[in-house]
Symmetry: C3
């Protein structure tokens, strides 16, 4: 209840010049690079009238905007409100959770538009962007939000911006290897977003291991209302996950199917999470940590396969398993990771993103390998896996092998990248707080006096009398 005694801090956490410098420098860089490279794509350019005629489109409704914009907005909510509020569960780190998530995501989407643009939307020296690029930028930043979950409360905003810069870069490289070189399908990002993001974050937090973190243990819990704020994040992630997994799938049946599979998987996941949360606690009481997190594992675990013919009952199975794995992870793996492997994972991203992400990659590989022309139809089969051009001779089992390779590449990129970036973040110049001041907004934020002051007043009756 008492304020941390900052006068006693060994570290200089003042952001006064460092944070503005980094923010402004990077924003200027963004402006210059956008000026040189970024232009409107054909469907967002005022020349669209002529374009429409050339493409023989009879209606404005054929603009990709109308296929994807509603999904984009749902994804946008997931990144900013979903991840932001999910992390407000800590009693005294709500500002940092939602505020730093806001900061890193707002920077990350700009840098992602460039990085992903160079890899995927580059033509004649320019990057041409449309609504699909906005979705992909949000996706890329999603992987940074995931990694943020592991180091939540232990890093300065500058460290987060530095991490975002590197992680977005590595994400884009990894995504390019998977989607373009390996020709892997991963529309909902089980591998590119969740597996990569989570193992990257876990590696970073391992490198940044703080042996004295138990000094701030009293602040690493929740209070009643902070748990309710976190449920806002949970529910928005849960509800909009069908949009997440279907947002960049092919028009038509693929988007439709992705939404259905994800809806089913998530519904099943809630039941197994509740079951195991109650079963693994001595008195059978439910734990909000599980409800806030493990209920979402079903969305992660169908990220790769949702647009495939996974089928509704297949989705129920995947969702059920991932809810169990994730809840068991919170009860047994997280303490193990911390005590034995020195991995301090604030939000338990290992349980919500890493393991379910791996499940998602594996389920995707199996579903791809099991695909037949009978199930997909002749045209549907080619369209679903994009078996055209140089890939027209690929068989489902070979595709399954490449999907599996995608998991391995994502893991390697995450470990190597996380180790390097963790090393950079360990430099003593970024202004992170001492162990006893972790999980405390007061270090980087102006915090209003409230309950604390009440308690203070109690011991000073004359003050309480005249507020």
């Amino acid at each position: 209840v008492e304020r941390p005694r900052h006068q006693g801090m060994a570290k200089n956490t003042s952001m006064r010049w460092r944070l503005p410098l980094v923010c402004l420098l990077w924003e200027v860089a963004m402006i210059v690079l956008f000026g040189v490279f970024v232009r409107f794509g054909a469907e967002a350019d005022a020349h669209w009238e002529e374009e429409k005629r050339e493409m023989n489109l009879t209606s404005d409704i054929e603009n990709d905007f109308y296929f994807r914009y509603p999904s984009f907005q749902d994804v946008h909510v997931m990144i900013f409100v979903g991840f932001g509020f999910l992390m407000t569960f800590l009693k005294r780190y709500g500002f940092g959770a939602v505020g730093f998530n806001f900061l890193l995501a707002a920077f990350g989407i700009q840098w992602a538009l460039l990085m992903q643009g160079w890899f995927h939307s580059f033509k004649d020296g320019k990057i041409f962007i449309g609504v699909e690029n906005l979705i992909n930028a949000d996706f890329c930043v999603g992987s940074v939000c995931i990694a943020f979950g592991a180091i939540l409360g232990k890093t300065s905003p500058i460290q987060l911006l530095v991490m975002t810069l590197f992680q977005v870069t590595l994400f884009s490289v990894n995504e390019y290897i998977l989607l373009n070189l390996l020709h892997v399908k991963d529309a909902g990002g089980s591998m590119t977003i969740h597996t990569f993001g989570a193992y990257f974050g876990l590696t970073v937090t391992r490198v940044l291991y703080r042996p004295n973190l138990e000094q701030s243990k009293d602040k690493q819990g929740s209070v009643y209302h902070s748990d309710l704020f976190a449920m806002i994040g949970t529910l928005y992630l849960w509800m909009y996950w069908p949009s997440f997994n279907s947002a960049i799938s092919d028009h038509g049946d693929a988007q439709h199917r992705s939404a259905i599979n994800t809806y089913c998987s998530l519904a099943a996941c809630v039941l197994t999470t509740m079951a195991f949360s109650s079963m693994l606690q001595k008195k059978g009481k439910l734990d909000m940590v599980h409800i806030q997190n493990a209920t979402l594992a079903g969305g992660v675990a169908v990220g790769t396969s949702a647009e495939m013919m996974l089928t509704p009952y297949g989705s129920l199975i995947v969702g059920s398993i991932s809810g169990i794995v994730s809840t068991v992870g919170y009860v047994y793996f997280t303490p193990f990771l911390e005590s034995r492997l020195h991995i301090q994972d604030t939000c338990g991203i290992h349980n919500l993103h890493a393991m379910p992400g791996l499940i998602g990659g594996i389920v995707g590989a199996i579903t791809a390998a099991a695909a037949t022309e009978d199930v997909y139809g002749k045209e549907g089969f080619i369209k679903a896996f994009d078996f055209t051009g140089v890939y027209q001779t690929r068989t489902p089992s070979i595709q399954g092998g490449f999907q599996a390779a995608g998991i391995v590449v994502s893991l390697l990129m995450a470990f190597a990248g996380g180790a390097i970036v963790g090393g950079i973040l360990k430099l003593p110049i970024w202004g992170d707080a001492a162990a006893e001041n972790c999980f405390e907004d007061d270090v980087y934020w102006e915090v209003p006096e409230d309950e604390e002051s009440d308690v203070y007043h109690m011991h000073n009756p004359e003050k309480a009398a005249s507020p």
Copy 2:
């Protein structure tokens, strides 16, 4: 402020084996039944390319996904955030409100996909699902969320799962009778969702009457921030209700019209609610209970008629009346129901869903009976009421009569079903809490120590000094 003394509890509320058993058993049943029955509908199946050709569709945008997915997501938010947070108004039952709503809805949508599928999407031994089925499953679960409002804080999660199983079943039967046998229109569910759900819940809570409930009276109120959490639920229900009432209407003008009528009705409802809330309180102060609930009655009351030519001013009238009825209900009827009829209605669903639902059914019957070819146009008239096939000779007044019959059937189903299900829930095996522990999360949830502990510290200064 003191914790309930659980050691003194007469009842065994431990969920440790019972809740996992029920959750896992039912999820396994869902997987088996989905495996046997549920398949992707044509628009979500990879054979869609061929389907498109057969149906002469020139564009993927004709896929029903693009007509209904944005509305589906809005409905989804209403069920999980809307109902979930609306019920967080209780000071110590926020976890139960949002968490149990999450649990029952996640189970209910799976069971509803099956039940409604057998009645409406069954062909050649399989249920074929698409986005419209997802919306209908959410709708069905909406009626369970409504019934949950009556028994909020007084039941165990197992009781809720048992109730969901039965209520979804009965809902689907009632819906089949109304929509298929009586050929009644009810796109926004005034009868099928609200009237049925509310009277079902009120009957259940009557059967479960707790004579000693005043023992937990101190917990049956709100605190300042719990009222703000509840407003999140209110506003999402209010804002997205136009999507709710238009989500499964016919493509084109019907969806468009439903949204406009609902928008108008809800706007009017806010003003009359505020007026009567202030008028009925001695000092003229507004009551958050009314603002959180009665402002929504306008959405309920145009549920049947919104897709008809109710007209914007007709909607204003219906919305105005329902706001008044609902607010008056909170002030006068709820205490009467409790003291005289022994109906303990935690959220006042009688005022928000039951009476406005009846109004909605009646307004729908009148609007249907008053329909003319002049107002609808010749084709529009047939399309609006689906007067084709065996129904091509139906006149508006006969349709109005059938609409009225739909209200009666819904009421009978609700009373009979609620009595039976209430009886089942009364069995002493489900682990519900004793009267003095109602409205208290601590019974079924791990609750963090927070303000309480502060207050506790006050009386133990030595503890407060070293937190």
Copy 3:
């Protein structure tokens, strides 16, 4: 912490008869006027089947509903949750913030449908409405929500309803002058919504200047959780702003482009806001007031130009500048306005809406003046600025001049209108609270006893022991 002593109030704040009277009177007026004037537009009318044939439309998807409804819902969320929760930052005015915003917006949209309908959708003595009218009504009310921000906590609900009546009227006149007489482009409302709304509100609050407001200074701050509630409002405004600026743009590329420009501007704005928030505080700590508000300035500042070929890097520049201007405004201008000009601006709308609105108007004028057929394409150029009919000879530079004139007209309307309406609101009949009771929900709302009572109990140990 102590309750205000109401017994000492000089003013009669009871709403018991006044508020119901105003609400019911105005709702009756709405019903009569809607009955006389408002009808469904062609796309929402049951005659649509015939209409479709006449317009040679082959699919229901061509109904404007499918182009605009998802954006409408996003705008709807911005008005009710966005503005409502943004203003909950005050520690004891959360009910008033979200509740009065709800009240005035629900009334305002009805009156706006009429006012804007007479100006823009009037034919043969009737107003024909569709989804675009709903969006415009929400937009119009947005300007009232902005003005509410200046007087938040200092006015009675009746004053707000009176202000809404007049402001909606003046908004519609101003909008008609700009869009129809000056033929100005302003799809995102930098001028019509933000400049007009903000300067109107600032003028009103100037007229209502309260010299003794420091008597309630202790309640004019936030507490920890009220700041988190406010962040819900901030994030929904931020995330959905691309929908706001694109909602009524032309179908196709214009909507697409508006969303991209707004997305970019807002992302940049977050970084410069964070930079200056940290830089301008002695210890370099971030201030939630800036994060909650100045991060949104980027959306305001591209309101006029987002649908033009502003380009992504142009958007980054505008967003960066507006974040800086807005944050500097909070630190330096707001105290200056209060101490020197007697403008008491509770939410700092001068920084979030007034200055960025002016920037938006100017950027729009420049972007229009700089337009060339080369950049827009021949057809795109005509379509973007609607240079048809009597306007076919307008050049870009003339258009730029008219855009600039639009700013001036909006300012004059705001100052004149605000002065008159402020004068009306100064009449001593509306039941506003005394200075010492400002920013206090207890004046107009039933407020549950909570933390206060705890603190009270502390000094009465015998009470605390038996709650």
